[in-house]
Amino acid sequence: MADFPGVRLHVVSGKGGTGKTTVAAALALALAGGGGRVLLLEVEGRQGIAQLFDVPPLPYLEKSVAVAPGGGEVYALAVDPEEALLDYLHMFYKLSPSGIPARTLRRMGAIDFATTIAPGMRDVLLTGKVKESVIRKRRDGRPVYDAVVLDAPPTGRIARFLNISQEVSGLTKVGPIKNQSEGVMAVLRSPQTAVHLVTLLEEMPVQETLDAVDELRSVHLPVGAVFVNAVRTPLLAPADLKAAESGALDTTALAAGLEKAGLDAPESLVAALAGEAADHASRVSLEERGRDALAGLARPTYELPLLPDAVDLGGLYALAQSLQEQGIA
């Protein structure tokens, strides 16, 4: 892992609509490239991973969803708080999920109750499962997964979601939940973890990214990379962009060019095309301002190209390759 040596937990957040699930999946594929074993987790019950990899909804099982170029493999799991609680009871209290106490808890609606009434509890369970998959070892002592990628809640909620010891401290000062949350926190704050942010080169997502970085830093969570998604290549030459933006595009040259290409070039068409060029130019300059603002964060930044169609499996592999070429893995 070239850019993030030692990082085993990659948390991926971003404003809604920026494509964080897509980036998380592409990152998992990139990290698995060359023979790695990577686990991709989701925690919001949206089954976004299954949709992306075009597989049936994920059961509560770590399931292989894709083979990476070079022989690696990506496993996926949709973490469910109820199942995570049963897991936890099994691991720490030796309660079998099919035993009487666990069944009683379920029958009472206790699990549902616990995970709904105390949202901090829900996040402890979800992040607890994430931590467990990061530290889980094989018989020979090596970790089961080379890396874990978490498709995390959006930027508006991310610091709160990860900073669970804060959430829990109001509820309980001592006891097993407190200990559990501290164990999770230790992994999340360690150099093993990086919290990446996905953005578009648009004003609001860029602003949210800047805000999220501040927030994460203020609670001592390690900020990783910035992923700029859906980047377009500017088609016009710099001088033309400038002219187009100020409405001074050389329409005579444009009309002449259109005619040379064998097209009728009535004034209305030339004006419409010049208008489109102006839109493009103002967008490009807006993107430049966004890039400058993101550069101020001084974090490794990766750009992912805009895919012409909705992302499918092929597109995912293309994005993973682009990440590898940019040195992430």
Partner: protein, 386 residues
């Protein structure tokens, strides 16, 4: 739009003039809050006394209405044309909840509830609290009688419609076995914890005590006990809000972008509203790309660009042609996605708002979104100086 001739057009002005409550819902990142603000501004400029309740607006949106910050109190927006007025506010979930507790708790109990750690967790981060409190605030705003039109934004999640379940959920919660178990010690004076319970319950409470600790259990049971006294009031209010939403004068607007995921969410909202018999005004599709030169197809445009490139001639025209090809291809794809939505949901009126390169920065920007929402009509003629 080709092939969409049968899709009715959403008449925003009629909706704004004919409603008392307008609820905007949709997934995140589709410009829902901006749409809510633009609708409210237009409503005000059509002459109505309007208030917009936003959930989590970007600072820039507040600034675009000339307000440095939005809070739980409606603040007047300056610089309107036409005879109406516009107030804007942002939901403060915790304050709204606190007020609800103060209004409904038995005398002397409110402070204990407000200080309980479980209440604090619930009121600031319970999934669903935000939705529920938005609806609570909505009914408060309506009951002031100060407004002709209340425009509400909803949280950017699927659970934005959770408020529809609020009455049912409260009932289920209150009647749930867990609540009864937790109430038992409080009712027994807190001394004996579940002395007279069955063997199954003993196992259960042992496990619970081991896992969460005895002190937490006491806090929790006190909290549930104190909440119980307010549930009646809560339930009534939730039911009243639900009825208000179904009453004539309420309209829902679903907001989407012309993308697969956003339209899928929009379809979910439309179906859910129909199932609840909630009045849907229509769908707003934001950020639609159009081309003023659509007669030049993407294929011809690209072929022309390639012809120029081969001769290394006219790089400007070639670049502009490629740009145009991309744009037409995007517009076509968006139209296809919208068409798919409309075919599955015929009869849902639709209006499109064109994509803008940048965000809205001022009232004029918001007004122009409003004009777009109304199919290009201006809301009010600016007053002529005397």
């Amino acid at each position: 739009m080709t092939g969409m001739t049968k899709t009715p057009v959403l008449d925003i002005d009629r909706t704004l003039l004919g409603s008392r409550i307008l609820v905007c819902c949709g997934s995140g990142g589709v410009g829902k809050t901006t749409t809510a603000a633009a609708l409210a501004l237009r409503g005000a400029e059509l002459g109505r006394r309007t208030v917009v309740l936003t959930i989590d607006p970007a600072r820039r949106l507040a600034q675009s209405m000339g307000l440095t910050e939005l809070d739980n109190t409606p603040r007047p927006v300056e610089g309107l044309t036409g005879g109406g007025a516009l107030d804007a506010m942002m939901l403060d979930m915790k304050r709204t909840f606190d007020q609800l507790v103060v209004d409904h708790a038995e005398p002397g109990k409110a402070d204990a509830i407000l200080a309980n750690p479980f209440y604090q967790a619930l009121s600031s981060s319970f999934a669903g609290t935000q939705e529920y409190m938005a609806m609570e605030k909505l009914s408060q705003l309506v009951s002031t009688g100060a407004y002709d039109l209340v425009v509400v934004d909803t949280p950017p999640t699927r659970s934005a419609l959770d408020f529809l379940d609020a009455p049912q959920r409260l009932t289920t919660f209150l009647d749930g076995r867990m609540v009864r178990i937790l109430l038992a010690p409080a009712k027994a004076g807190g001394k004996v914890y579940l002395r007279a319970v069955t063997a199954g319950l003993n196992v259960f409470t042992n496990v619970l005590t081991r896992i969460i600790g005895a002190d937490v259990l006491v806090d929790l049971s006190q909290f549930v006990a104190s909440l119980e006294t307010m549930f009646g009031g809560f339930r009534e209010r939730a039911q009243a809000t639900y009825d208000l939403l179904k009453a004539p004068g309420t309209a829902f607007v679903v907001v989407a972008a012309p993308e697969r995921d956003a339209l899928r969410e929009a379809a979910y909202f439309v179906e859910r509203l129909a199932a609840e018999r909630m009045p849907l005004a229509g769908l707003v599709v934001n950020r639609v790309h159009r081309s003023a030169a659509a007669s030049l197809t993407a294929e011809r445009s690209l072929a022309a660009a390639e012809a120029l490139d081969e001769r290394a001639d006219s790089p400007l025209a070639s670049a502009v042609l490629r740009l145009h090809a991309d744009r037409v291809a995007l517009a076509t794809r968006e139209a296809r996605l919208q068409e798919r939505f409309s075919r599955a949901h015929p009869g849902v009126p639709v209006v499109e708002v064109a994509a803008q390169p940048g965000d809205v920065h001022d009232l004029a920007g918001l007004r122009s979104v409003g004009d777009d929402l109304a199919g290009g009509r201006q809301a009010a003629v600016p007053a002529v100086p005397a």
